[in-house]
């Protein structure tokens, strides 16, 4: 079962790299925001899978919830900043 989670995490890592490409080279700001938000979501799942591998899910659930909250707030903040500065 550990191998399954490990391979799942590695697959998500590849997806994170694809999102990172969109975040670095993506045309426009909105693509970058969406890419960073998606990377945050995938990181959350990778954290949970690490928790399953280390058999300490109850620890990693806390960390991943904080990650989700700060990801949400960060995305909203960047979007509002862009709206205020008139770039959209």
């Amino acid at each position: 079962m550990n191998n399954f989670f490990l391979w799942l995490g590695m697959g998500l890592f590849v997806l994170v790299l694809l999102c990172l490409y969109r975040g670095v080279f993506g045309p426009g700001v909105l693509n970058r925001i969406a890419a960073i938000s998606a990377i945050g979501t995938k990181t959350l799942i990778i954290l949970l899978l690490m928790g399953f591998i280390y058999q300490r899910v109850e620890m990693f659930v806390d960390i991943s919830m904080v990650y989700a909250l700060l990801n949400f707030i960060g995305t909203i903040t960047v979007a509002k900043y862009l709206e205020m500065s008139g770039e959209i």
Binding site: E58, M59, D62, I63, M65, V66, L69, L70, F72, I73, I76, T77, K80, Y81, E83, M84
Partner: protein, 152 residues
């Protein structure tokens, strides 16, 4: 950054989420010694909830809940809790922040007093970090220029 915009979806979602974020922050502060987290992390989450409120509801509404003056008051009072517990241990004849000595006034065994003392210190740290996080964001987003006096 702190102006009010009429995006109803963001406001409704944040109004739903902010109580749960604050509840989760209190959980992180309270469970700091069983799980990852503690005073600083819980304080950051609590400050993030206030920052979310400031972003989504604008400066005028946010100043009712948490103004710059209240943030200064909270940051000082959290530090007072922290150093007060430390000094209480010092007064009772032990080292600074040696919570085991608090068992004299709490009427519990020293290990329980240690747990309670750590909890008190974590609460103080959490309040301070929350207020300072909010204050930093407040100062940066308004550029140090607060529209009207809030002293009254």
């Amino acid at each position: 950054m702190t102006q009010l915009t009429d995006d109803i979806i963001i406001r409704a979602v944040s109004r739903l989420m902010i109580p749960f974020i604050q509840l989760y922050a209190l959980y992180v502060i309270m469970h700091g010694h069983h799980s990852p987290g503690g005073g600083f992390q819980g304080g950051v989450i609590l400050g993030a909830s206030f920052i979310l409120y400031l972003i989504t509801h604008g400066l005028e509404e946010a100043k009712i809940r948490m103004s710059e003056m209240k943030a200064g008051f909270f940051s000082a009072s959290g530090l007072l809790i922290y150093s007060g517990i430390g000094l209480l241990c010092l007064i009772l004849g032990s080292n600074f922040l040696n919570y085991g000595r608090l068992s004299v006034i709490l009427k519990v065994i020293p290990s329980q007093a240690r747990s309670l003392g750590i909890l008190g210190v974590e609460i103080g740290v959490g309040i301070t970090v929350m207020a300072v996080m909010f204050s930093i964001f407040f100062d940066i987003s308004t550029g140090g220029i607060i529209p009207e006096d809030e002293g009254d």
